[in-house]
């Protein structure tokens, strides 16, 4: 007799990986990760942004506190995925960056190097790729204040917060240790060895940052549940001096261990094994694109199917947004203008009216010409 006799099939490689592999079985059964009606917020590396459309397609409520104003709906999208998360913070690659963002939202941390003056304008070092950035200090301060308030609302309102850990390597400001999302000079501003330094976080750093984040988050939002994942996407480049494959393995190992430590040490923190689904030996060769770095759609589909299998998504599939406008309903069957008005957002009606008035006044001017 020995303990293995009593272990379930999922404990055995031959029974759960070599044969009968089911991605959703990687997570032990338990309470739903997300329940219908709960507000889900997320942050993380570029892999994290892939998850959002799946959540919304299943009718789960993705929390967005910072959306584009309707008047600007048709302008080109923001760069670098700033529009893709719960607020316009863009990719959050490290746990230090996450903790820092949280503390900034609470007014508990203000970076010393909080703006870069460039020929293009006033750049946010923590969102250096913003297309629609400020061009004056006053504009910068107002936009920043608004953004940070939106971030605060994310942390205050989320029922579930999903964080995808992406990197251990980071560049920081020597003034106060504030961590940037990218090395200065790669997206904006210039690298200055006197102002900027490199760090490759270790397991205890990552775990500690995550624990602090969870603990501090729960002061403002006691009931929030946290789901951790590790991005399977390898590093684009490493500043560690190692081969990028070796550096990637180190980074992912650190992140994986830290995620486990925190999930075990904090209630309502769950690790979801997206990393294993994509990178495990059982994964199809087509889970990565030809560059062996970008994750394929099939891989994301597989991860999300497994994730959603652990969510309570209800019986109906996603339904389209049928938010009613306050426009008078269609008064007649053959009036396209009224039908369009009835289906339009209120802002569109006002905008259309204003445009038509401006155009029509020119016609009125004709009458007097």
């Amino acid at each position: 007799m020995h303990p293995y006799i009593a272990f379930p099939s999922r404990a055995f490689w031959s029974r759960a990986v070599s044969n009968d592999f089911e991605p959703e079985a990687l997570l032990a059964p338990g309470p739903p990760l997300v329940k219908k009606g709960e507000l889900v917020a997320s942050a993380g590396s570029c892999f994290a942004a892939n998850l959002v459309p799946y959540l919304e397609a299943k009718g789960l409520s993705y929390l967005r506190t910072e959306t584009r104003h309707p008047a600007l709906r048709r302008i080109p999208e923001e760069n670098l995925g700033y529009d893709r998360f719960s607020a316009a913070y863009g990719n959050i690659y490290t746990t230090r960056q996450l903790l820092q963002l949280f503390r900034r939202s609470q007014g508990a941390f203000t970076p010393v190097e909080d703006r870069w003056f460039t020929r293009a304008g006033v750049i946010d070092p923590f969102r250096p790729g913003l297309k629609y950035h400020a061009t004056s200090e006053r504009e910068f301060e107002l936009l920043q204040k608004q953004h940070i308030a939106c971030v605060r609302r994310v942390f205050e309102r989320a029922d579930v917060f999903i964080f995808t850990l992406g990197l251990t390597e980071a560049w920081f400001s020597r003034a106060d240790g504030a961590v940037f999302p990218a090395c200065p000079g790669t997206v904006a501003d210039e690298y200055d060895a006197e102002r900027h330094g490199f760090v490759n976080f270790e397991t205890h750093d990552v775990a500690n940052d995550l624990r602090l984040f969870v603990d501090e988050l729960r002061v403002v939002n006691p009931r929030v549940r946290v789901i951790l994942t590790v991005s399977p996407v390898p590093l684009i480049a490493t500043a560690s001096g190692e081969h990028v494959l070796v550096a990637t393995t180190y980074s992912k190992a650190v992140l994986r261990v830290a995620a486990r430590e925190v999930a075990l040490s904090r209630p309502d923190v769950v690790y979801f094994p997206a990393f294993e689904i994509v990178t495990g030996p059982q994964a199809g060769g087509d889970f990565f694109e030809a560059d062996r770095r970008n994750v394929s759609t099939r891989a994301v589909d597989t991860v999300m199917a497994a994730f959603l299998a652990h969510c309570d998504v209800g019986l109906d599939a996603a339904t389209p947004d049928t938010t009613a406008s306050n426009v008078t309903p269609d008064a007649g069957p053959a009036d396209p203008a009224r039908k369009k008005a009835a289906n339009a957002e209120p802002n569109e009606n006002l905008s259309e009216l204003a445009q038509r008035i401006a155009d029509a006044e020119c016609e009125e001017a004709l009458a007097d010409a």
Binding site: L142, I357, A360, A369
Partner: protein, 258 residues
């Protein structure tokens, strides 16, 4: 030497150029204004809305005469006549000290420029074509500042049954639809003037702003110069014509010198 030619969109009407010709054809015409300044120009009337044939006429006529081009000018009204939901505001880079409603959704000026740039794409095309076809360098002319009195705007809109009907067709009541703050319209007008000037600069085309005399003490359109909610009247046209007539020779001599 043929007279300088005023051409462009709806604000040419204030300068005495019939916006639309009787049968939609393009032809030059004297301005429907009296005075030496008006006599110093002709106008190009044609189809309305403007079509390709109008601009082709501009290109052709522009070879022998200076064109004073009035481009759009009302594009910001699409989102700044009525109050947006949520209310919107921005910091004008040209004058960041101008008041901002910090309770509104603050948007970056660069985002508004992206929104407004579409209305200037045609201007790029016209100026580029004029340059390519060897036309004399035109002059871009500014467009009237907005009205600063929201009650007055509503009154101007309400006076015309046409607009009430227009509002109804979009499901709104013109008498109660909230109007955007006047200062937002002013800042957007400033931004449009700036962007128009920048387009001109890209082609070496000077920009002639509207004269100081048409502004009230707050920078809005003087109340005696209102035509309707978004246009200025003939008196405005007289002031602009006088100012433009006095400056055209300067643009011409700058061109000769360079």
């Amino acid at each position: 030497m043929p007279l300088p030619l005023i051409a462009g969109h709806s604000h040419v009407a204030a300068l005495g150029v019939p916006l639309k010709s009787a049968n939609g054809d393009c032809h030059t015409t004297s301005l429907s204004r009296s005075g030496a300044s008006a006599a110093a120009f002709e106008g190009l009337t044609g189809p309305w809305p403007r079509r390709g044939e109008y601009w082709r006429e501009v290109y052709a006529l522009g070879k022998a005469r200076t064109v004073a081009l009035v481009w759009e000018g009302n594009q910001y009204h699409a989102f700044a006549m009525f109050e947006a939901s949520p209310p919107i505001d921005f910091v004008l880079a040209e004058e960041p000290a101008i008041a901002v409603n910090e309770d509104a959704c603050i948007v970056a000026e660069l985002a508004l420029r992206a929104r407004l740039s579409k209305s200037l794409a045609g201007l790029h095309h016209v100026l580029g074509t004029m340059k390519k076809r060897g036309a004399r360098t035109p002059v871009l002319v500014g467009t009237p500042p907005p009205i600063g009195d929201n009650d007055a705007i509503r009154g101007l809109l309400q006076r015309a049954p046409f607009f009430k009907k227009l509002a109804a067709s979009t499901g709104l009541d013109i008498e109660t639809a909230p109007l955007a703050p006047a200062m937002l319209r002013y800042k957007l007008w400033r931004l449009v003037q700036r962007m128009t000037r920048e387009v001109g600069a890209a082609y070496g085309v000077p920009f002639h702003p509207v004269p100081r005399a048409v502004h009230d003490e707050n920078g809005f359109l003087r109340s005696d110069l209102w035509q309707d909610a978004s246009h200025a009247n003939a008196h405005y046209g007289d002031l602009l014509l006088e100012d433009l007539a006095g400056a055209l020779h300067l643009y011409d001599s700058n061109r000769a010198a360079s």
